[in-house]
């Protein structure tokens, strides 16, 4: 590190060390503990027993667990696709706005997220419930004659997840698109490209880092935000996150919960590796 060799860098060194210590204590250490726990046994009386086993991982292939993993991946997939479909045009629109509107629009997108996510989910409950705002509005407008059963359905969970995760898709896409020079699109059209070809051959490849970044930030949280299915899905729908939560807090199976978490982390690493493989030139910093 060049910085630390300079005499003026004591403050820098200090702040960098604090960050490192923080990450070591609260990210790497817990992860190691989880990894360690995930290979331990467990019984009714103890949170864990110091005896090695692979049973915790084997249980994940068990049809019951496997079904949860699959359905939660499916759910996360749909959430990610919906986020992408909504956020991509929005990000494009904001990035191509005149600069005085740009910041306002971005701020408007981000302001709701200054409120705690759980509070917003309860607000969502008020919107979606049978006599909630959405149903009242639709009834008043005469668009429906019976209130829609939205709450405690998978649809409600989907809406909640998409709503909560949209900024994580929007921001990487926005910063990616914002950096692109408008000249590139003009050059493509000048060379005779249809709008579709401009999108397919210019915009899409150049925004791939933003897309992958967004997917990474949305896909995994979409499997693990356990309180959203709890509140909006009426605990009927269960995600990988709910599984981990119940393993830790309800049946007190710490090794089991650890193994599930480790699998989730592994998925994330695999996704990043795939991206690196497909785009060797892409820098990790492009993803955020």
């Amino acid at each position: 590190m060049k910085l630390s060799s300079q005499p003026t860098s004591i403050l820098q060194r200090l702040s960098i060390s604090i960050t490192w210590v923080w990450l070591l204590l609260f990210a790497l250490l817990p992860l190691c503990i989880m990894l360690f726990l995930s290979f331990l046994q467990h019984d009714e009386q103890n949170l864990f027993i110091l005896k090695g086993t692979l049973a915790n991982y084997r249980q994940l292939i068990d049809p019951l667990f496997f079904k949860i993993i699959l359905s939660s991946m499916q759910q996360a997939f749909i959430v990610t696709v919906l986020c992408l479909l909504i956020a991509y045009p929005t990000a494009f629109f904001i990035a191509r706005c005149q600069s005085q509107y740009k910041n306002i629009l971005l701020l408007l997108m981000v302001i709701p997220f200054w409120t705690s996510s759980i509070i917003r989910i309860y607000a969502m409950l008020a919107l979606l419930k049978t006599k909630g705002l959405l149903n009242s509005l639709l009834l008043t407008l005469g668009l429906i004659h019976q209130p829609l059963q939205l709450i405690y359905t998978d649809t409600a969970v989907l809406i909640g997840l998409v709503y909560n995760l949209i900024p994580f898709m929007l921001l990487p896409l926005y910063s990616n698109i914002e950096r692109l020079d408008n000249c590139l699109f003009e050059a493509a059209r000048d060379l005779g490209a249809s709008r579709w070809k401009v999108f397919k051959d210019i915009l899409l490849p150049l925004t791939m880092p933003g897309i992958v970044g967004g997917i990474l930030l949305v896909f995994l949280p979409a499997m693990s935000l356990f309180y959203i299915p709890d509140v909006l899905g009426g605990a009927k729908s269960i995600l990988l996150g709910n599984l981990i939560e119940s393993q830790f807090l309800m049946i007190h199976n710490w090794p089991g919960g650890s193994a599930t978490s480790i699998v989730l982390t592994a998925m994330m690493i695999i996704l990043i590796l795939i991206y690196k493989k497909v785009y060797p030139s892409g820098k990790a910093s492009d993803l955020i």
Partner: protein, 365 residues
């Protein structure tokens, strides 16, 4: 003369409240190298964007080969543009960049191969076909951008300040290449630039623009030697300007007072007595003599040398006249005057070849 390849007819364009182009009409001859020259904000880039189809004029029409293309989108116009920053696609190789336009035409793969190779060969960069744009130097990027446009065999090539991002030597080299290319292809080139030297050295004709109007159209020589307005004179090259009033004038000559001395000059534009005029003289048309070298005549003005700038092939002098006006003069080394040594505050006499001055009426008064 054959029908123009491009004809602009009474084009006007406004952005919000600002008039970018004001009733522009212009015919462009097939095969010419035309430069649109002017300071930033004069409307030259707007004009190029209207030609390429990225913007539409508010009124007027644009004809390409007698076909109205005013409202045709860029992808359907048979012209191509080279952007100021080249706008090469960063995720594609040189080959893919150059092939892009041909792919849009849905040409056969083998034909695309041949055409791309030929185009890249023309700019002597065949060895870079597999590279990405960021692995090329500025000059190479420039040439690939030109190849990418030319490969489509457009009727007209538009160039938006194509050389402004290059350093001085490369720019000189590319100017020659560009001119050479244009001559060999016989293609119409329309270049926008703010660099008057570039415009003069490359073009068959120069269009000087000023505040959304065409100030003058002419060959580089006409633009330089016979500027139509004071703004054109000031913008193209260095100038010395004497503001004065005509004391008396007849059909052939006029009399003016310059710095307390009476001059009799030719009057081809038939100015009248009491007209306010500007007398424009280029620095290289001014001769400077040492006080003791020559005998003062009534076509000479006395002054003091205030600045001596040695430039290798020339020496530039700033001479202050008795009324305080500063004149710049460019002296060339030649057999008659090998020394060209001047000292600050040295007394000199200046004169110019009578008849080489340009007299422009003062519009503001």
């Amino acid at each position: 003369m054959s029908a123009p390849i491009i004809s602009l007819q009474q084009i006007s364009k406004r952005f919000d409240e600002n008039v970018a182009l004001h009733n522009i009409s212009l015919d462009i001859v097939n095969g010419e190298f035309l430069t649109i020259l002017g300071p930033s904000g004069c409307g030259k880039t707007t004009l190029l964007r209207l030609l390429s189809g990225f913007d539409q004029p508010d009124t007027g029409s644009i004809l390409l080969k007698q076909q109205d293309i005013t409202h045709l989108p860029p992808e359907r116009r048979h012209l191509n543009i080279v952007f100021q920053n080249y706008a090469l696609f960063p995720h594609m190789t040189v080959f893919q960049n150059v092939a892009f336009g041909l792919e849009c035409q849905k040409l056969d793969k083998a034909i695309i191969q041949t055409k791309v190779r030929a185009a890249v060969e023309r700019v002597k960069l065949t060895h870079t076909l597999d590279r990405k744009p960021d692995q090329l130097s500025g000059g190479q990027q420039q040439r690939i951008a030109i190849a990418r446009a030319l490969v489509n065999e457009p009727l007209v090539l538009l160039l938006d300040e194509p050389l402004s991002a290059l350093d001085y030597h490369l720019r000189k080299k590319m100017q020659i290449e560009l001119k050479d290319l244009q001559r060999k292809l016989g293609m119409t080139f329309i270049m926008v630039t703010h660099d008057q030297e570039e415009a003069l050295s490359l073009s068959d004709r120069v269009v000087v623009m000023d505040h959304g109007n065409i100030a003058q159209i002419g060959t580089p020589r006409e633009i330089y030697e016979k500027p139509a307005t004071l703004d054109v004179a000031k913008f193209i090259g260095e100038t010395n300007i004497f503001h004065t009033q005509i004391i008396s004038a007849n059909e052939e000559t006029l009399q003016v007072d310059i710095c307390g001395q009476l001059f009799q000059l030719a009057n081809p534009k038939r100015y009248k007595t009491h007209d306010m005029i500007n007398i424009v003289i280029r620095p290289e048309d001014i001769q400077v003599w040492g006080d003791k070298e020559v005998k003062r005549t009534n076509t000479m003005l006395p002054g003091l040398v205030k600045e001596v700038i040695y430039k290798g092939s020339t020496v530039d002098l700033i001479v202050e006249l008795s009324n305080g006006q500063r004149i710049s003069a460019t002296e060339f080394f030649n057999e008659d005057d090998e020394e060209l040594i001047y000292e600050i505050d040295e007394k000199v006499l200046i004169k110019w070849q009578q008849g080489w001055e340009v007299i422009i009426r003062n519009e503001t008064i």
